[in-house]
């Protein structure tokens, strides 16, 4: 697929719109109309560029934000659920657990234990990737060294 400048610009605009908190959240068809792409092309092009459908992108963005709010430890699960745009606590918790492997309340308890400064995000959930290197098992590097020597 070849996107020209204007098409690319429209998709970027659509991504910004998907990240906005609007109540009620606009449907995907409304968003497509807003960026002047047919709904069919919108979904197809969005997926080719961002690797996910607009609908899934919006859900993931909301869960990411929920995760950050929970980690800050200053809001209840119910507050976070409403804040990120879910109207049902049940569907929020189910979706969160399915994507992140644990319920929002369990996630919050676990992360709270590692929070050093109240209100700040713990480094464990916002890594700069090269920091992850320090937590690798020693074998990760012995393999690298060996393959280097074999070269």
């Amino acid at each position: 697929m070849l996107l020209r400048h204007e098409g690319f610009r429209r998709l970027c605009r659509a991504r910004d719109l998907l990240l906005e908190d609007r109540e009620p959240a606009p449907s995907i068809v409304d968003l497509a109309r807003e960026v002047h792409i047919s709904p069919f092309h919108f979904i197809r092009q969005f997926e080719a560029v961002f690797g996910t459908t607009p609908h899934q992108f919006r859900i993931q963005a909301r869960l990411d934000r929920a995760r950050q709010l929970l980690a800050r430890g200053q809001h209840s699960v119910t507050d976070v659920c409403m804040e990120v745009g879910f109207s049902s606590l049940g569907s929020f918790s189910t979706l969160f657990a399915r994507r992140l492997g644990e319920a929002p309340s369990a996630y919050q308890r676990r992360i709270r234990r590692s929070v050093q400064v109240p209100g700040e995000l713990p480094a464990a959930i916002t890594p700069g990737c090269l920091c992850l290197m320090s937590q690798l098992p020693a074998t990760a590097f012995s393999r690298t060294v060996r393959s280097f020597r074999e070269a």
Binding site: L2, L3, H5, Q45, F50, T52, T126, P127, L136
Partner: protein
Amino acid sequence: MRIKLTSIMVDDQDKAIRFYTDVLGFKQKHDIPVGEYRWITVTSPDGPHDVELALEPNANPAGKTFQEAMFKQGIPIAAFEVSDIKGEFARLTAKGVAFLRPPAQAGPVTLAVFADTCGNLIQLYQPA
């Protein structure tokens, strides 16, 4: 001192490893769980001892802001050298990759730009 490793931010590590191996054709070198994330690196089958590329989670809000801004401005975040840019363009297009710029001569190189589905634009270049 040697340059053995570089990294690129990705918005989803599962999606990234699929794109960088299945679509681009790189080989996974490491995939090790670290806390909530994974240490994933790939190398090129054409240069298995070249620099390793780490697929870094963009969970840090500062990183995400940077990544989104560069993307929106159409600025590639990495460049990979190819020996047949038109062939790569055809191969990747057939796999559904979205190009913003088809292969075109630019000074001493031929360039093309595509989206990596993980929040980045990547430049391919073929030296003349």
